[in-house]
Every structure is written in C-alpha cells, then in structure tokens.
C-alpha cells in the first residue's frame, strides 16, 4: 500500500512535468532553465531517495511479518518492557537532534558540539538498550529459532539498529568536523540531513513497535 502511494505521488509528479509541454518547440533558455525542479540541493534529493529505498525495505519486512503470522506455528511474543524505555530514549535523541539543528540554523556555533554529543550519547544508549533486550530474550530462552515471531523480532530490531549505526557514521563525521573547527555552513547541512534521517528512523521504529505490540 505504501509503495503504491509513493509510486502514485512520484509518477504523478513526473506526469505533471510533462503535461502542457511541447518538447518539439525550441525555446530561449531563460524560460526553461529549470534544471533542478525540486528546488533542493543534491544531497537532500539523494537522502529522500535513500529514505524511499529504506521505507521499501522495512515495508516489505512488515508485509512478510503480516503474512507469516497467519500460519499455524506462530506464537505471539511478549515484548520486554525495556522496549518502552528504549523508545523514549530514541524520541529524546530525535528531539536533541532537532534542537541542535535549530541552533545550527540560528548560527549558534558554541551550542552545536554539546547538542551533537548529547544526541550521539542518546542514540548509543538506544542501541545498548536494544542489545540488552536481545540478551534478556536469550537469557530467558526466547532464542531466534524458537518461533517465527522471535525470528522476526530479532530480524526487524537488528535491521533497524544497523540503519541507525549507518546514521551514526555520518553523525561521527559531522562531529569530527565540528571538533576540528571546519566551516559551519558545511556542518550545518550534515546536521540538517542527519536530523531528517533520525526522525525517519524514529517513525520506522514507532510503526514497527506498534506492529510488534499489537500482534
């Protein structure tokens, strides 16, 4: 469903570009010098495209989850309560990133490094929390192979954590740039894009967590 909606919007936008055009008529260039129609910069376009790819990835996992849980051997899992705390930490990380991003937009250079460090610490705390959940499950005998519900749980949380670690790579580069005192303008864009990515992974987590809780 999501993919259908996404494709419809994208294809609709492409079609809109093509209506009322007469490509066979040559024109002076001022009228048509519209080479970047999204009005955004390249990195933002690439990030948006990447988010579409990741959304497709998680949407497909969740569809597979919904299909698989219909079969007879499925025993619903009881999610550890620690996941609620982890969710809170991830929300806090997103808020911290948003705050840092707002400071960056104001040009408040001194507040950026503390903001980034707090965000990083919260994110690492989230990953550590997820690992703790895994250890708790293993300790109580809820191994990955016990039941397909468990297998999906480990697969989904693992895939989500890996995506966060990918984001942490970009976060660490931006933070190093801040420490080495590079041009604020360059870091500002990294922070901006990272913030979007963090919010996005938070939404993915909330949807996934909701699915896990409700089934």
């Amino acid at each position: 469903m999501f993919l259908a909606a996404f494709l419809a919007v994208f294809m609709g936008w492409l079609l809109k570009q093509s209506f009322n055009t007469q490509p066979w008529v040559p024109e002076e260039v001022e009228e048509t010098a519209h080479q970047a129609p999204l009005g955004a910069n390249a990195k933002a376009v690439a990030l948006t495209t990447l988010l579409a790819v990741i959304t497709s990835f998680f949407a497909l996992i969740m569809s597979a989850y919904a299909e698989r849980m219909e079969l007879g051997d499925w025993i619903p899992m009881t999610e550890p309560n620690l996941l609620w705390i982890n969710t809170g930490i991830l929300v806090a990380a997103s808020i911290a990133f948003q705050w840092t991003r707002n400071r960056a937009n104001e040009g408040n250079r001194p507040m950026l490094l503390p903001g980034m460090l707090v965000t990083g610490a919260l994110t690492i705390a989230f990953i550590a929390g997820q690992l703790t959940v895994w250890r708790m499950l293993n300790a109580s005998g809820d191994y990955v192979t016990v039941n397909p519900a468990n297998a999906f749980f480990f697969f989904m949380t693992g895939a989500h954590a890996l995506h966060i670690l990918g984001g942490m790579y970009v976060w660490s580069r931006a933070t190093i740039r801040l420490v080495t005192g590079n041009d604020v303008e360059k870091v500002r864009q990294s922070i901006e894009l990272c913030t979007i990515y963090w919010h996005f992974l938070l939404v993915v987590w909330l949807v996934m967590f909701g699915l896990l809780l409700s089934t």
């Binding site: 259908a4 570009q17 093509s18 066979w24 040559p26 010098a33 080479q35 790819v53 051997d73 192979t145």
Partner: protein
C-alpha cells in the same frame, strides 16, 4: 544559503582532474571510466554465463554424451546462467554501464553528482561478482537451486551447493544490491539535479528516461530481494522457519516448524517482475534513440513514449503474481493479476507502434546499430505476443514449466535487450573510443545473431506445446514425446552453439577497431543529443571543456524543413535554426 542550481554554479566547482594512472583508470571517479569498468566486468561474466548455456545445450541436444555434465552440474549451470544473465550482466550493463556513460553526457553534466560513491558502486559490484564466481570453487560447488532460489529445495539435501554455494549466492546478491543502491542514488540525483540549462525533463532523450525510471524501479524492488535473501540466510544458517515448512528430509527432522515457501515466492517476484522492466526500460529508451537517429526522423509521439515508460514502471509493481499461477492461488487473485498483466500490454504496444511509425517514411540508414534496433522490434514483438498467452491463467497452467516459457522469456528479456546492448555498443563506440568499428563485420554479426536466435527459440515454442518440461536434465523414456522432439533439441543445440560462436565476431571487431579502426569524427551519425556535441572525442574528464552546454530543443530535430542539415543539435539556439515539427509525429 539560497538555492543555486548546480549548472549555474559551474564556475565555482573545482574539477579534480585525475593525475596518475591509478586515479585515471583504476580508482577512477570519472563516470565514463566507471561505465567502461562496469561494462567490461558485466560482459566478462556474461561470457561465462554464455558458456554455461552452451554446456546445458550440449546435454539437452546430445544426452549423456559428455562426461563432465552430470545432473548436479547441469542444475548449477542453469542457476548460474540465469542469475548472471539477469542481474550481473543485464542490470549491471544497462544501469551501471550505459546509465553511467549516458546520463551525464546526455543531460549536459560534468559527471555524476557523487563521483566518489559512483566509484564505490563499481568496486562493490566487483566484490559481488567475485563472491559469485568464488562459489564455483567451494566444496559442493555453486548452488543448483534455479535462479529463483525457491525454498525449501534451495537449502535441502538433494540440491547441489546447499553448504557453501547458496550462502555465497545470497551474500553476493546482498552485496550487489548495496552496489546498485549507491549507483542508483547517483543516477536519480543526477537526472533530477544536474541537468544543464534548458534541459527540462521533457527534453531528455528517451535513453535517459528509460534508465531513470528503471533505476527508480530497481531502488524500490531490490529491497524485496534483499529481504528474502537475508531471511533465507537466517533459515539456512540459524535454522529459523521464515520460509522453511515443517518437513522431513531423508527420514530425519531438520527442525523447521512450518514456514511459508509461498511467502518467498511473493517477495522474490515482487522484485522479479520489476526486474524484467529494469532490464527492458533502458532497452526501450535506447532503441528509441537508435531508431530516430538512423531513420533521420523525430521519434513518433515523444510524450506518449515518456508516459508509456512511466506507466509500465508503475504497473510493473502490481503484476508479480503472474509468475505464480501454479502455486495454488485464489481464482480472484489470479484474475486480478491476469488483468493487470494484460493492461501492461497497452503502454507496451503503444511503444511498439511508435517505433514502427518512427520508421515510416524515414530516411533509413541500415547501419549496424540500426539493424540491431530493428531486429529488437521483431524479437520483442514475438516475445511480447507469447507473453499474452502466459499472462492468462487458463493458458498458463498447461504451458507452465514447459519450453514455451523458456522460449518466451528468452525472446522478451534475453535476446531483445541483448540486441539493444549490441546496437548501443556499436552506436556509441565512436564516441567512447574515438574510432569507427568495422561495418561489414558488424553486419555479419547482426545477421548471424538475429537469424540464429530465431533458429534457437522458435522451435522451443513448439517443444513447449508438445509438453517438453523445462529444467529436466534428461527426458529419458518419456512416452508422450516423439523422437522428433529429441531431434529438434539437437537442432536447437547446434544453432545455439553456432550463435555463441559467432559472438567472437563482435569481440574481434571491438578489439581490432580499438587498435586499428578509422578515426571517427565527433558526430559520425549526425545525431542531435548532447553527448555528440562534446568538444573532445572521446570526451575528456569534465566532458564539456570550459563551458557547460545550453539546451534549447528536444533531441529529435531530424529532417526539419527549411534547415540545410538534416539534424539540429540540442544546443543550437532557436534564432540559428527554425522550429522543429509543428506537431509531434506529424510529417
């Protein structure tokens, strides 16, 4: 910072010209070098896949005559042939090869937007190829699960390569998807952001449109393959039951609890069907440009061609289950997918009509690229028509898993795109190398390939009607098949070996022309699109010298009345040349 389009910022952008041999040809960030690296690697693995098919044909045509082909190796040949051809050759060649070469040049850009990531994309692709080829040499050999890798057989005893082969195959696919995603992000972003001034979306050549939409399809569809590959690795390595049903194997219980093999099929074909169009759409786009250029006529119905590409791209996501009619689905489900499948024939047919109408009253030059382009129209119509049979549930059921299916998909997504690949290589060879290929040798190559493929695949349809099953190592004493079926199989094998051998003409032509071919001018075909207007041939790093081109018109101003030349390049301003046709397609 206020937004400034990339093309407007050109003078601010530094261009790091590669200085050493290594940065120029090995760790190159130049899209043209990366394109050639991608292309050469893809063709290299393609030749391996071709040899594998020759071995399969040896067994089918002359059963049990060759000691080195046994049932296990036969299934390994099938699997590797299919997977290499579809993914590591065609996908990589069209998007990594032609996409890389053509997008920046046709859009008037200096390079891809993220050159470093582009370089990384190739090297990661190379790693995936090495992992794949390594599976030939591991204990148990490569996987013999068939290119669809259906569980449970893909990881159960009885299928070759269940220890190492299947793991390396899944790993290689995962790595390939990472490589493709890096490349794909580049292609999409470059098309959307880095076109030169005046290059509106609706002035892009159809080659770029085809590659662009195919990339979007790939970006959204490959995750399905990734998900299924990871889940199968879990099933294989950890013993989970995502796909593996409760099953006993040779009297033993492997411990699987009741997973769904059908779930794998859904995921696989959710990727697998768009994959057909990931290969076909670039071919559609490129063939449009070849036909228009060599017929000296504007493409018929440019906007309709763009809309058809977009429509096919969208529809390709809702037809996947037509590969699964025999998996036991609800009749209404089958009805839905049969309907969407037949609907997709509409935009496809529009494209075919427009190609034919482009030729109508054109000034056709039957050079090698044009021969391949016209050959494509033939093979694609044949493959497309048999698709109508197989898209219908009731006709598909008896034909499923017969040679009719093999003939169908080889015509439509084997022969057809490969003809376009050859046409495109001949067409752009003068630009890529600065040399002209040998026309006579090229024509011989075309005729032998084109007629030869018909000798291979037309009889296969007939075998399919007779009920000859695909994937079988040997027919044995199958009563319902007459001896003539075996004779036909022998004939097909002879034809296949002949066609495979004639491909040597292509390689001789390329290597000889590269060394001793005549010098080609910058625009030997008198083509309009921007890649032919570069200041240097082959284009240097940065493509355009000091000034980026400005685009004033579409890429199809051929034979415009009142203009002395029969083509007007895209960068000729309107005050220097008249308007193109009053109406698209009108003559």
């Amino acid at each position: 910072m206020a937004y400034v389009a990339i093309a407007d910022r050109d003078h601010e952008v530094e261009h790091h010209d590669p200085q050493t041999f290594i940065t120029k040809y090995v760790w190159s960030q130049d899209h043209k070098v990366i394109a050639i690296q991608y292309g050469a690697t893809a063709i290299f693995v393609g030749v391996i896949a071709l040899l594998l098919s020759a071995m399969m044909r040896l067994q089918l045509g002359f059963p049990d005559q060759f000691a080195f082909i046994n049932p296990e190796s036969y299934y390994q040949f099938i699997t590797m042939h299919g997977m290499i051809m579809v993914i590591y050759l065609l996908t990589a060649l069209f998007l990594g090869g032609f996409g890389n070469y053509l997008i920046p040049l046709m859009c008037g850009s200096r390079d891809m937007v993220f050159p470093y990531m582009n370089m990384l994309s190739f090297w990661v692709y190379l790693v995936s190829v090495i992992i794949l080829l390594a599976s030939f040499f591991v204990p148990g050999g490569s996987t013999g699960a068939g290119w669809t890798l259906y569980p449970p057989q893909a990881i159960m005893p009885g299928t070759p390569g269940i220890d190492w082969g299947i793991v390396l195959m899944l790993l290689s696919l995962a790595v390939f998807i990472v490589a493709f995603t890096m490349g794909g992000l580049n292609y999409v972003t470059t098309v959307l952001q880095a076109r030169c001034k005046g290059m509106t979306l609706m002035r892009m050549p159809l080659s770029v449109w085809g590659i662009f939409i195919a990339t979007v399809l790939g970006l959204l569809a490959f995750p399905a393959l990734l998900v299924s590959a990871i889940m199968m690795l879990f099933d294989k390595g950890l013993g989970t039951s995502f796909f593996m049903p409760a099953i006993s194997s040779m009297g033993a219980d492997p411990g699987y609890t009741g997973g769904s093999p059908i779930l794998f099929q859904h995921l696989f074909w959710f990727f697998g069907h768009p994959e057909v169009y990931i290969v076909a759409l670039p071919a559609f786009g490129i063939v449009s440009d070849l036909l228009s250029t060599h017929a000296r006529k504007n493409i018929f119905g440019y906007r309709m061609m763009v809309w058809a590409i977009i429509a096919i791209g969208g529809l390709s996501f809702i037809v996947w289950a037509h590969h699964m009619y025999v998996s036991g689905m609800h009749p209404y489900f089958g009805f839905f997918f049969a309907t969407t499948t037949l609907i997709i024939a509409v935009p496809t047919a529009i494209k075919v009509y427009n190609w034919v109408l482009t030729l109508w009253e054109g000034h056709i030059h039957l050079r090698t690229p044009m021969l391949f382009a016209i050959g494509f129209i033939f093979t694609f119509i044949h493959g497309g028509l048999t698709g109508l049979f197989l898209g219908n549930v009731t006709i598909d059921l008896p034909l499923s898993d017969t040679y009719f299916v093999v003939a169908h998909f080889h015509m439509v997504m084997g022969v057809s795109p490969i003809l376009v690949v050859f046409g495109a290589i001949y067409h752009w060879f003068p630009k890529i190398t600065g040399k002209m290929y040998n026309e006579t040798l090229g024509k011989w190559h075309f005729w032998m390939t084109f007629l030869g493929t018909y000798l291979i695949y037309l009889p296969m349809h007939y075998l399919g009607f007779q009920g000859v099953p695909r994937r079988y190592f040997a027919m044995g004493n199958t009563e319902f098949l007459p001896q003539s079926a075996q004779d036909l199989n022998a004939f097909i094998t002879m034809s296949a070996l002949f066609v495979a051998a004639t491909q040597i003409l292509f390689f001789i032509n390329m290597i000889w022309s590269l060394k001793s071919g005549q010098k080609a001018g910058p625009n030997p075909w008198k083509a309009t699109s921007l890649e032919w207007q570069t200041p240097d041939t082959p284009p240097k790093h940065g493509n355009w010298g000091h000034e980026l081109p400005v685009c004033y018109r579409w890429a199809y101003d051929y034979s415009v009345p009142g203009y002395p030349d029969d083509y007007i390049p895209q960068n000729v301003p309107p005050d220097e040349a008249p308007a193109g046709r009053d109406h698209e397609g009108e003559h």
